[in-house]
Symmetry: C2
Subunit: 210 residues, 2 copies
Amino acid sequence: MREKLEKYFSFVFEKELLDEIVQVGVYKKLRENEVLVDLGDKMKGIPLLLEGAIKIVREDKNGDEMLLYFLERGDTCASSFASALTNGKCGIRAMAEKESEIIFLPKEKLDEWMVKYKSWRSFVIDSYNIRLNEMMETIDSLAFMNMSERLYKYLTDKAQIMRETSLNTTHQDIAYDMHTSRVVISRLLKQLENEGKIKLHRNKIEILEF
Amino acid sequence: MREKLEKYFSFVFEKELLDEIVQVGVYKKLRENEVLVDLGDKMKGIPLLLEGAIKIVREDKNGDEMLLYFLERGDTCASSFASALTNGKCGIRAMAEKESEIIFLPKEKLDEWMVKYKSWRSFVIDSYNIRLNEMMETIDSLAFMNMSERLYKYLTDKAQIMRETSLNTTHQDIAYDMHTSRVVISRLLKQLENEGKIKLHRNKIEILEF
DNA sequence: TAAGTTGCGTGATGACAATCACAAAACAAT
DNA sequence: ATTGTTTTGTGATTGTCATCACGCAACTTA
C-alpha cells in the first residue's frame, strides 16, 4: 500500500501526510463491478483511488441510470466528502469498472488535515474543481450534442480511463450508462463503424480513431 | 455592508472572520443583467452574494447557452474558487438576474482562512457540495425529464430564487436558458396555462401552482 | 450436436422537439 | 392615428430518438 501510495501521491502530499495516511487509511481491493457506494449510503470515510477505474452514476426514482463521470487513479470521490462531513446521504452510485484498489480515509481526519497540511487543502479543492468540470462536460454533452457525438465521446473517454484501445462491453451496458435504448446504440455504433472510427466485435469495441 | 453581512452570515461565520471580511472585502452593487464573470475571465477574488439573484450559465463554442443554476443570498460561486486559486480560466458566465449586492474577497485570503477558521472551511465545503447537487439536478432534468417538466421546474425554481410568484421575462429568454426555441416554449407555456398551473401575460408569467 | 441463452442487426412506426412560415396582438415612437 | 418593433400564437413539416417486432449470429450448456 505504501508503495502504490508513494507512486501516485508523493507529488501531491507532503511526507508527513503520507505517513498519516498509511497509519489510519484502510486498504481495500474492489472486484470488477463491485459497488463501492450506493444510493442512500452514508459514508464513514472517503476513498482515495490507487489503481483501477470507478464509474459514478446517477439514478432517478424509476431506476433509470445516467453516467456522471469516471474516476481514475489519483482521484477521490468528491460527493463522498459531502456525505462524510455532513452525515448526509449520497445521491450517487460508485461502481468499479475494473479491479481497483482504494484507501479509505476516516472522516474524522478530513477537517484536521485541512488545518495541518497545505497539500491536503489543495487536493480537496482540486478534487472538487475537477469534479465540477466533469459535471459541466456531462451537461454540455446532454445539452449540446446529439446521440452519435455523445456515444463517440463516451467510447473515447472510457477507453482513456480504462487505458485500453478496446472496450469489453455490450451495447446494452452502454445504453444504460447513456440512458437510452440498446437499439439506438447498436445503430449508431454501426454507423461509427462505417465511418471507420471503430470496429465492432461481440462483447468488444475496438476504437480506431481518437 | 456590515449590516447585510451580519444578517445573512453571522450564523455562518465566526465574529473574527466577519471582522476580517469587512476589512478586506470589496463591496459591489450589480445592476440587473450586469455580467459578473464572463467566459474566459480569470478571477482575482471570489464573490459572496449578500442580496439579489445571479444566474450561472454555460456556453458552447457556437454561442449556445444552457442555464446551470441560480445563486441566491448567502451563496458563493464555487467555480470562482477554482479559477481564483489556480489562476485558471472560468468556464461559465455569471449574470445578475436582478439588482444584487456582493462582496469580493481577495484570493490571497482564501487559503489563509482555511487554516484559521473552521467556519470558513465548512462554508467552502458546503458551497461545493450545494453546487455539485445543483449540477446533479440539472443533469437529472436533462437526462430524465421532458421539455414540459423541465419548463415547469424552471419556472418554479426561478420564482423561488427571485422571491416572486410572477416572473418578468419573455418566452425567448426562457428558450435561451433552456437551450431550445421560442416556439417550443410558447407552445408548452400555453399548455401549462390550459392545465391551470400558470397564467400568461405579455412579458410576465404568473405561477398559480407550486 | 441439439437446445437454450445472450448479444447484435434492422425494418417499421410513433412521439417529441426543432425548424419554417406567417399572422395577430401589445406596445412604443413619431 | 400611423408606423414600426417586440412579443406571442399557431399550422405545417422535418428530424431525431424511442419503441416495437423479429430474425440471426455467437456463445454456453446439456
